[in-house]
Amino acid sequence: MMRHLISAADLTRDDAVLILDTAEEMARVADRPIKKLPALRGRTVVNLFFEDSTRTRISFEAAEKRLSADVINFAAKGSSVSKGESLKDTAQTLEAMGVDAVVIRHGASGAPYRLATSGWIDATVINAGDGTHQHPTQALLDAFTMRRRLVGRDTGLGQDLEGKRVTVVGDILHSRVARSNVDLLHTLGAEVTLVAPPTLVPVGVEHWPCEVSYDLDRVLPKSDAVMMLRVQRERMNAAFFPTEREYSRRYGLDGDRMAKMPEHAIVMHPGPMVRGMEITAEVADSDRCTVVEQVANGVSIRMAVLYLLLGGNEPAVTHSRTEEK
């Protein structure tokens, strides 16, 4: 049985559908006057953030609080971690405090996997983004958003994303969101196409379960969902592309390009958006853009994950790959 959520690649199709279905029930709590469920009463969850990420942190925090968990926020900045305390020491400190789960965001790829497998700590580990590796709850909330929009809220229950065509555009090389989405969407039966300049596609991508294209305009008409990734300004100086202007001309999504997408197709973005770079304001503010929905869905998905991993005496999600590694 899975105790941790480290990688989207660890989820089976049935696990993923169970999480999406559970999230659908969790979402209904948001409509109630009392947005609270007792599932994690008496459980202590630590949000251990070695990287700044206010959005992800408050999303997890809202999810934990709605499930009545006791929440401790631990930001590495200004703490003993920035004074040289190791991940191991931090983990053992939290263990000594009797925490039940650690939600970890870390700049080093593999840090959550290490935390879960090195024997430093007994708690359940949930990966809230590690380096350029994985961000599984982001992939789950993206899949949840797609299922709601492309299949339907109630008709989607029990369903996967079989046959849906998803295009992910932008800095694939440095993106944990892209890696997680490729893994999960493939598991859910979707067809994924990555679009990026060749400099921002990793060597070895040919072994990923997806297609790669350098031509956004050719892919757009065949997309049910187009996910735009943020391009960080610091990539500018590393010769990944000549200028910002050229990047947005070739790989940015504007109104004209959006018009090439099928009528039902949606535009997604994990946030924060760089308006004018990968996405124009016109697209970002259109009702085909699901950015705000994705934020709301993030809370429901994280509630579902927390409940399924921590709500019982053992997790409800089966496990395949991580423990074989």
Binding site: L87, A111, R114, G131, R179, V203, G204, K325
Partner: protein
């Protein structure tokens, strides 16, 4: 010193013979030898090799005595069957002056477990900017003949050219750590299928191969010899093979771990597999084995790189690069080369003793097992099978990638100039 009679050992893996050590030398090799009062070592089924020579060891002293000292490192060497090790220059302070190399050399003398030949830095502070006093290091008591900035690449082509030329004056050799620095910024592991999946910064093969290609051409141009440290890719093998076919004076080494381990192991994110150059693919491993067998790669060198526990008991990105190797080297070579039929024990002796001693000019080491030669010998039990237990290591560090792995062969005895440093697997 008393006499020692090694009875029934397969010398270089050949027919059983007796070997009589008298004092610091081999007195006699033959059948049915006997000697009054000699200590008899029954060696039936065991293989006798000339003492192993490691051209690439990190002893860490001075500066990182928390990971290894000359004493603990030479004990580890004796334990692994080595009688001579070359200590890399990346200490604190860097071994870039006669003073530091003499200190290391003297510590080696005092240890008594294994001869220590310091390697001098090519450039001041390993910074790749200004040649260190190579001549002074050569003329010092340490008599340095091998120079390397190992851990860092001499990436400036002009500095490399000058170093190659300059050491010709006293018959030295530059050992290059081939790593193009710009192509490996932020590199964490081999660039390929696994790095793409794990989201770890890629160390492309071309970063190694481009430097090797440049350096063999430089060596050809200035008529110098060059030694390439720890080859790790199939492409590097091709370049060295081409250079040798052209008559370029190049020698190359491979580490035991690159003969066995692949980047698939990085999927565990366990930093015990983090090493520079990184573990590569199965295809590279096979090419390296083949090249070691056919002589394209001249020698095995351990790149023994001790690190304290805390530098490995952490997340991958924060971990130090390197693995200890002295105490497992021969077992890994037996496993990958001898037991696979790629190499005979005589071939092992050549690649782990004779040739490294010749490249590094280690006097008295890498000699034939015959009368009148210095009694630097290693006795191996090739039939032994057992899991690697780091708790039993003589090294101060435990960062081995082989913990719990079953490997064949065990060094039971090591003699340094007739003095037993290891008897029945126990350090003396």
């Amino acid at each position: 010193m008393s006499k020692i009679l090694i009875r029934g050992a397969k010398v270089l893996g050949g027919e059983p013979q007796d070997v009589l050590i008298d004092g610091s030398e081999i007195a006699e090799v033959g059948q049915g030898l006997s000697a009054e009062g000699a200590v008899v070592v029954e060696a039936e089924g065991k293989v006798l090799l000339p003492g192993l020579v490691d051209l690439h060891t990190h002893l860490r002293e001075p500066g990182r005595e928390d990971s290894e000292t000359v004493l603990t490192g030479t004990r580890a060497a004796a334990s692994g069957g080595f009688t001579s090790v070359f200590a890399m220059a990346n200490t604190f302070p860097v071994a870039d002056t006669a003073g530091v190399v003499e200190q290391v050399w003297r510590l080696g003398k005092e240890s008594g477990y294994c001869d220590v030949q310091p390697i001098g830095a090519v450039t001041v502070g390993l910074e790749g900017k200004k040649l260190a006093e190579l001549g002074a290091m050569h003329e010092s008591a340490a008599g340095v003949t091998v120079f390397s900035d190992d851990g860092k690449c001499v990436d400036d082509a002009v500095i490399m050219r000058r170093a190659l030329e300059y050491v010709k004056a006293f018959g030295g050799v530059v050992a290059q750590h081939a790593q193009e620095p710009r192509l490996t910024e932020g590199a964490q592991m081999n660039e390929g299928i696994v790095s793409a999946e794990l989201g770890l910064g890629g160390w492309p093969a071309v970063a190694e191969e481009s430097i090797i290609a440049r350096d063999v051409l430089l060596a050809e141009h200035v008529g110098s010899r060059v030694h390439i440290c720890h080859l790790s890719t199939a492409g590097s093998v091709e370049i060295v093979r081409w250079a040798k076919s052209r008559g370029i004076d190049v020698t190359a080494e491979v580490t035991p771990h690159h003969l066995l381990l692949t980047d698939e192991l990085v999927r565990t994110y366990n930093p015990v597999y983090k090493v520079n150059p990184p573990l590569r693919t199965e295809r590279d491993v096979m090419a390296l084995r083949e090249a070691l067998a056919d002589g394209t790669i001249d020698i095995v060198a351990t790149d023994h790189a001790p690190h304290p526990h805390e530098d490995k008991d952490c997340e991958w990105g924060a971990a130090a690069m390197g693995m200890v190797g002295l105490e497992t080297a021969l077992s890994v070579v037996q496993h990958t080369m001898v037991d696979t039929g790629l190499l005979t024990w005589a071939g092992v002796a050549e690649r782990m003793s004779l040739t490294p001693a010749r490249i590094g000019q280690a006097a008295g080491h890498g000699r034939p097992v015959s009368a009148g030669e210095p009694a630097n010998l290693t006795l191996v039990d090739p039939a032994y099978r057992g899991p690697v237990d780091p708790a039993g290591f003589a090294s101060r560090s435990r960062n081995t990638p082989y913990e719990g792995r079953e490997l064949p062969g065990r060094v039971t005895h090591t003699w340094l100039r007739g003095r037993a440093t290891l008897v029945d697997g126990k350090l003396q």
